[in-house]
Amino acid sequence: MLTLKSVHSYYGSLHVLKGVSLHVRAGEIVALLGANGAGKTTTLKTISGLLKPRTGQVEFQGEDISRLSAEAIVQRGIAHVPEGRRVFSTLTVAANLELGAFARRDHQAVKKDLQEIQERFPILRERARQPAGTLSGGEQQVLAMARALMARPKLLLLDEPSMGLAPRLVQQVFAIIRHLQATGTTILLIEQNARAALKVADRGYVMETGRISLDGTAAELMDHNEVKRAYLGKGYQEVWED
């Protein structure tokens, strides 16, 4: 469904992605792991068009999307939930959801989707008229994900959805991710919480300084000594083990 072929991306003159190749098949959850600064967020930004690759290709459903604008890429069916949730804080919860469907023209279906999403996440209906900035961190994450779903994406890019959330809310976020997979959404997921990510993922990639250093099935990565040492360290295990 999505294929990156030796993608190089820059922030100004800073060479961040140094030949990233990866692929995501339809229906999969793929985890993208790695330390801070490895280039995970930059990879997602390059896919969603916020950043243009200098060389290399991003292919989505057989089409080269690496030169398309972010707006055009949303219309192709890729929704990106950015790091730090980035809800529109002074707009209402309802307005945030509506903006998620901005690129869609099927207004009747949008209305129906809005209702469905509000049924699935009742908090978003209760708080519909409230500014999004007044929600708690966990609620904002739910809103950010729901807003992305309003675009009816074929592929969902999630950047650190559990960042800064209490353990109970982390579980809730991962429950949503599992549910999304069950309903046929393909997901590319960045997580600091590697153990939780590999639990829901089918496959994973590990990034290091702008390159993919490892890839394999979730089970393989979970067993890999290097991954364990680097991202599932002892302290981590105590905090996140359920």
């Binding site: 604008s69 707006e71 219309q75 990106h80 980035r86 529109f88 903006l99 901005f102």
Partner: protein
Amino acid sequence: MLLQQILNGLTAGSVYALIALGYTMIYGILGLINFAQGEIYMAGAFATVLLLSAYKVNFFVAFLFGMGVAAVLGLILERLAFRPLRGSHPLVPLISAIGASIFLQSLALLLFGPADRAFPLQFEFAALDIAGVTVSTLQVAIFVTALFFMALLVVFVKYTKFGKAIMATALDQDTARLMGINVDRMIALTFLIGSALSGAAGIMMAIYYNTTYPRMGLLPGLKAFSAAVLGGVGNIPGAIVGGLLLGVAENLGAGYLSSGYKDAVAFAILIIVLLVRPKGLLGGRGH
């Protein structure tokens, strides 16, 4: 006397508020003070006056024409003076705005000459007596029209898809793009709306003072800027409140101190706000 000054102030203030909305919306979305806003106000007035003196058209058609010319001028300005400079140091587009302001003033001087032009239509305005205070129906008409445009804008921003998209773009451009919002188009739309409102303000003042001239936008432009800062630049209700308050304050200053202090009051308020509460009465961007 007090009530009289307040009513006079509300008339002028409602016009400042219309221009201030242009400043505040453009600041909200680009972080830029468009100092050419006063010249857009002037252009709206000239377009209407010239059309009315050349052709026998309906007043309302001429009014809309003036707003349209102002809107198109705003779009051209965005395209030529600001878009190419996006992403550069914030002082650069500011200098460009001041340059555009001087350029448009000089251009108007060249094209239309320095002389004052009277408004081509003569209206019969009655003087109303409200609780011992004289108000002309013209003042009422200006106030009501200004409020109408403000209400229209608030409804647009709060309840329409594109209004919400403008707010989203003002809050977070990258995330707006991830929603499929074309940021360039939203910026252009903001210039179009803000400029149309300034054009309407210019036309109303051309009728009120019965004069149109190339430098007419200078003082109202600066006062509306003070009004936007007073309310909190980037904040739409703030621009409205700031405009009305500023209009009332300067008329009270003119009435109780001396008419010579009228303009000084507006700028004294600007300085005090910047010193005491720089984010304005209602706070900053994104409202």
